[in-house]
């Protein structure tokens, strides 16, 4: 028991690379901001006469054209965008895992049917479909937009998962588990799934980023979520209010920066998870690298000396 917990501790310590700490820090700060800040800021929709002015003591991030507080809007928009992202990523993960892993492992006609379906969904053009559905449905709630985004974004991940499963299914350790008498569901869950974690986590992160960007895109053209503020809707109103031409950077930079920082943080997390699960991808500590470099330099020096001697 003591040994397993110490093993877990070692795993945790390996996770704490600078890459992971920076990435997790970014994501945690943004998430906490989205969770907590909405309780403390002013009403984001309250209109005021003092419109379109830069940061002041009262409005830390300035105001919009109609005098709404940008910080308050940003807080609510962060919450909205994160919610869309998480819902879409979870749905897409389940869909891709179901169609990719199950089809890949079981093979046969089921795999054929699943592959065909995946390919059909894959070639459905995402944005136009979202525009069509979005313009048909009047009540575009958060959940509806999330489901549309999930339906159009799981297929690529499913294909990756399927091909990975096909490769892992034929590895000796899976065959050995079959010979040991493991049941199919346990082989998928215990022998195959852990080895798919890096792929699935990168798929999850990718879905999260695409969902937030996709929602931002939809909102920017005016057919996004109605009733919930997101980074995309902030950018939409900033564009409408001619923030760019008027040089109102405090209006469009915060939501844009949030999107970029969250994407950056999630990618950094993804890299370090990859390094944990696949030891081959793990980068050597600095000292090792230095030693290797020094060795190479030594060798180069040696050969140079030898050449001189030869000459």
């Amino acid at each position: 028991m003591a040994q397993t917990s110490s093993g877990r501790l070692a795993g945790l310590r390996r996770l704490l690379t600078p890459t992971f700490v920076i990435g997790a820090g970014l994501v945690i700060v943004i998430t906490l901001f989205g969770l907590i800040a909405p309780f403390f800021v002013a009403d984001p929709l309250a209109v005021d006469n003092a419109g379109m002015h830069g940061p002041t003591a009262q409005n830390v991030l300035g105001t919009t054209q109609t005098g709404q507080d940008v910080l308050a809007q940003l807080a609510w928009a962060t919450r909205g965008s994160l919610m869309v992202g998480v819902i879409v990523a979870v749905l897409a993960l389940f869909l891709s895992a179901f169609f990719g892993i199950l089809g890949g492992y079981l093979g046969g006609w089921l795999d054929e049917v699943f592959s065909l379906f995946t390919n059909v969904v894959l070639i459905l053009p995402g944005l136009p479909l979202m525009i069509v559905i979005g313009s048909y449905v009047q009540q575009r709630g958060l959940l509806l937009i999330s489901i549309i985004l999930a339906i159009t974004s799981w297929a690529a991940a499913a294909r990756v998962l399927r091909s990975q499963t096909l490769s892992i299914r034929n590895r000796d350790y899976v065959q050995a588990a079959r010979i040991a008498g493991e049941k199919a569901h346990r082989i998928i869950a215990v022998e195959i799934l852990p080895n798919l974690l890096p792929v699935m986590s990168s798929g999850f992160v990718f879905a999260l980023i695409t969902a937030i960007l996709g929602e931002a895109g939809l909102s920017f053209i005016g057919i996004g979520v109605v009733g919930t503020q997101t980074w995309g809707s902030m950018l939409f109103y900033a564009q409408n209010g001619q923030a760019l031409t008027l040089g109102a950077w405090w209006w469009f930079v915060p939501p844009g920066l949030m999107i970029a920082l969250l994407g950056c943080g999630l990618s950094l997390i993804n890299f370090s998870i990859d390094g944990i699960i696949n030891p081959r991808l793990r980068t050597a500590p600095k000292q090792v690298k230095k030693a290797e470099k020094a060795e190479q330099v030594d060798k180069a020096d040696d050969s140079a000396e030898q050449e001189e001697v030869m000459a």
């Binding site: 093993g7 350790y173 050995a176 008498g181």
Partner: protein
Amino acid sequence: MSTLVVKDLTKTYLLRDGLRFSRLEAVKSVDFELTPGRTVALVGQSGSGKSTIAKLIAQLETPTSGTITLNGKPVGRRGRALAAYRDEVQMVFQDPFASLNPFHSIGHHLERPLLLHGKATKADVREKALALLERVNLSPAESFIDRKPHELSGGQRQRVAIARALAPEPSVLVADEPVSMLDVSVRLGVLNLLATLQREENLALLYITHDLATARHFSDEILVMYRGDVVEQGPSDDVILNPQAEFTKQLLVAAPEPGTNPRFLAEATRRGVPMPDHLAALEETT
């Protein structure tokens, strides 16, 4: 006492190249018998169907035709019958770097088969796993059981793979080129371990290899395969010392012998020194 009898075993793969189909006869009506306490070596080149036979016996593939019987009963293909078969027949894979799941500890690889085959309970499974590690000379077992496969050397991994195969206490063991991926320096250790275990547990062992020397040394009977056919079959010494099939003779001369330096031989032929028989035979066949 259990005997595994393979009769008229055939496996044909259907290969698809676009719309064209072709057939690959990997194994063509092969017969042999595995009896407790005896080692049968299956020798042949790459692609001769050796590993297909291993997979057929391990029930990873279903034969196109022919039968495999264990103690006179045809083998179970699914459900409880298959579980009963797996109790008796286990396999060691060729590549110890691929046959252990990189995600799980050594303990997991031993504890799962112990639990699945009812050889241990949750309470004593760790103890039994430790005993298995000691059995394959990985000691102190405590220092191995919690490690991950990538922390072990090839020879140590293959010992773990052997321990896993022994966990269900089988009576038939298939070893598919168990040492071909290992360092030359540890091969003999792993082979000796297999031989010891086979003697002590009275296993029926199928030793698949392409190395005639170890086949002769470790087995009672040799089967020589060539392109899916068994071309020669008999007691080890007979096959090695008095080969009948053309392919066996080729295999024998293809093995390098210590003391025959090819450069020295070329010099010798130039001076008219008679060539050793087995090398002369090689010249003729090529």
